[in-house]
Amino acid sequence: MLLLGACGDDDDDSGGSAAISNEFEFFSWWTGGGDSEGKEALLALFADQNPDVEIVDSAIAGGAGTNAQAELANRLLADNPPDSYQRHAGKELVADIEADEVEDLDSLYDDEGWRDVFPEQLLDLITSDGKLYSVPVNIHRSNVLWYNPAVLDEVGIAAPPTTWDEFLTQATTLEAAGKIPLTVGPTWTQQHLLENVLLGELGPDVYSGLWDVSTDWESAEVVDALDMFTEVLGHSNLDSAAADWQPAIDPLIEGDAAYNVMGDWADTYFRVEKELTWETDYGATTSPGTDGVFNFLSDTFTLPQDAPHRETAIEWLKLAGSKEGQDTFNPVKGSIPARIDGDPSLYTDYLQVPFEDWTDPSTTIVGSLAHGVVADNAWKTEIDSALQEFVESGDAEGFAGAVKQAYEDTQN
């Protein structure tokens, strides 16, 4: 007993032989609904390949990663980083890079030949100062319009809308039949909706320009798109918005509502949790106006400066970026590989659609606001603030001005 206790407590490298105390601490917010199953599968593969390594899984639940990020900020400030931690791909990592918390991974990308297997548009969006600091393990799509085919049949709508204008027309029909046209959930899902209304109304080029402010937020075009967002919200259940994204989808499943804009993780909810059948009980298409565009977000892993077990962490990153690793993780998690050479036979039902679009070179890739790709946390938090004000007031010009001002305040 005493001996066992002593072994279990051995959590530093300095004492004892390296073989016994070779730990790997892995930090994520993957704790439920497909996430943790995918994580278990990937960690099991890692354990097979590295039998000497004791894996410490530090996962923190809640709020699409917000709780985990707060804990992570504390640990990084205290110079106590895990061996590898999860961040959303893109600008969410900028504060860490600026604080010199993560190593750049350019040589790893060269050695593993990753520059050829990840789409160039993806690598562009996750490059900071010409360097790559993270390894994407999966891809999720943000611009998905989920719907209940039975509800559309019932009110005589032939197909989901392809523009937001068409949505407004359908909304009148749906409301006349006593249905909620569109459901929304908490603030971050409203932001998720906003980015896709902007993308649908402005097109990918103007949309992407919003994030380096080469598109003027206060231009008539953007303000019109923001007004469209207000109109769309006017046909939603905003006043009784659910506290999470799953209950926001429930009215749709129960036949009280028609549409919901949510990322493709919703597929796991429909298919696994609610045991529904793709294309019969629920359907999905690109959100209005975004055909041929892939609004992406991705989970990535980093190599912190002063990672306690750097060599093991590099082994982990190699696995996370490998074809085998991504094809093990993604079918279980309900996402698609970031690599374009994944095995298509593994991605069936709904997942087949984003898989085909992602690997299609003619697809335009843009990044998600709500999931950390295009705005860093400082700016995004200010956008959150302004958005809640905007949702209450409908003042599009005020919102555009606030977002622009916040860019100037936070990006210097």
Partner: protein, 285 residues
């Protein structure tokens, strides 16, 4: 000598950290790298123009008013009922005290369901109950209502959790009034309301004071209840939540520290007069 270790710990972990927080609030620390360079009172000057902050202050004032007054009244009423004599007093005391044993997170999850304002198949909780007993007009949007009263709905679960505790305080206070005093007043010809007003009420004043201080400081620092009721809803956000979001999501440590300092100042407004009052009372004895 015996108290000196705790004095040192208190000095470091309370006053030391308060000072550190003040220092951060006077810097321009944003991002993960600590930056203590003095930047003046910028953070404080910006807060009055920050509508998110001013809305949050309004929310916490509405919440505090409804929560403190409501809980005091309910707690007092319960104490009075028990004091008048009920069968199985121990059982009722236990039942009334029990909600305090449940964490605010669990309380919020229960009440999120009870105060749901969705209609149709999603209708649950109090609104559904009102509908079933024919009191439809009572159904409302609770913590999702527009206007200033959304935080008042959060006072319901908070009061539910703490009114039992206030009841216990009042019960102890009521029991502390000796029967001799009441008898004497009755012999002098006072009726029951007058006995209460002139004999019992003055002796309950210290109980009211401590209950108010306890409730007010809980109210100002309550975080988990709002967080779990409806995360990031501006309708029920308070400065404590804004402090958290701006610090740990936006990494704006200096603004977070400024809000935290103002929260401490707000709590002091309640607590310092109380301490002053208690010290004065003790000196008199």
């Amino acid at each position: 000598m015996l108290v000196s270790p705790s004095l040192i710990l208190l000095g470091v972990f309370v006053y030391g950290f308060l000072g550190w927080n003040l220092r951060v609030s006077l810097s321009d620390w944003r991002g993960l790298r600590p930056d203590y360079a003095y930047a003046g009172t910028d953070n404080y000057q910006r807060l009055p123009d920050d509508t998110r902050f001013t809305d949050d202050v309004e929310n916490v004032l509405v919440f505090t008013a409804v929560f403190v007054v409501g809980t005091l009244l309910l707690g007092f009423l319960l104490a009075l009922l028990i004091e008048r004599g009920v069968r199985g007093e121990g059982f009722f005391r236990g039942v009334f005290l029990f909600p305090m044993a449940i964490s605010f997170i669990a309380t919020a999850i229960i009440w999120r369901w009870l105060l749901n304002n969705a209609g149709g198949a999603q209708e649950t909780g109090l609104n559904k109950l009102f509908g079933q007993v024919g009191l439809d007009f009572l159904a409302n949007d609770w913590f999702k209502s527009r206007g200033t009263w959304a935080p008042a709905a959060i006072a319901l679960p908070a009061g539910w959790a703490l009114s039992g505790y206030v009841m216990a305080l009042f019960l102890a206070g009521l029991r502390g009034v000796s029967d001799d005093l009441r008898e004497a007043a009755r012999v002098d010809g006072a009726n029951e309301p007058r006995v209460f007003w002139h004999v019992v009420r003055p002796m309950l004043l210290p109980v009211v004071m401590s209950a108010v201080v306890i409730l007010a400081h809980i109210s100002l620092k309550t975080f988990d209840l709002m967080f779990a009721m409806d995360v990031e809803s501006r309708k029920i956000e308070t400065p404590a939540l804004y402090m958290w979001f701006t610090t740990f999501d936006g990494l704006n440590f200096s603004r977070g520290a400024a809000i935290a300092t103002l929260l401490v100042a707000g709590i002091s407004v309640v607590v310092v007069p109380y301490i002053w009052y208690s010290i004065r009372m003790e000196r008199r004895r």
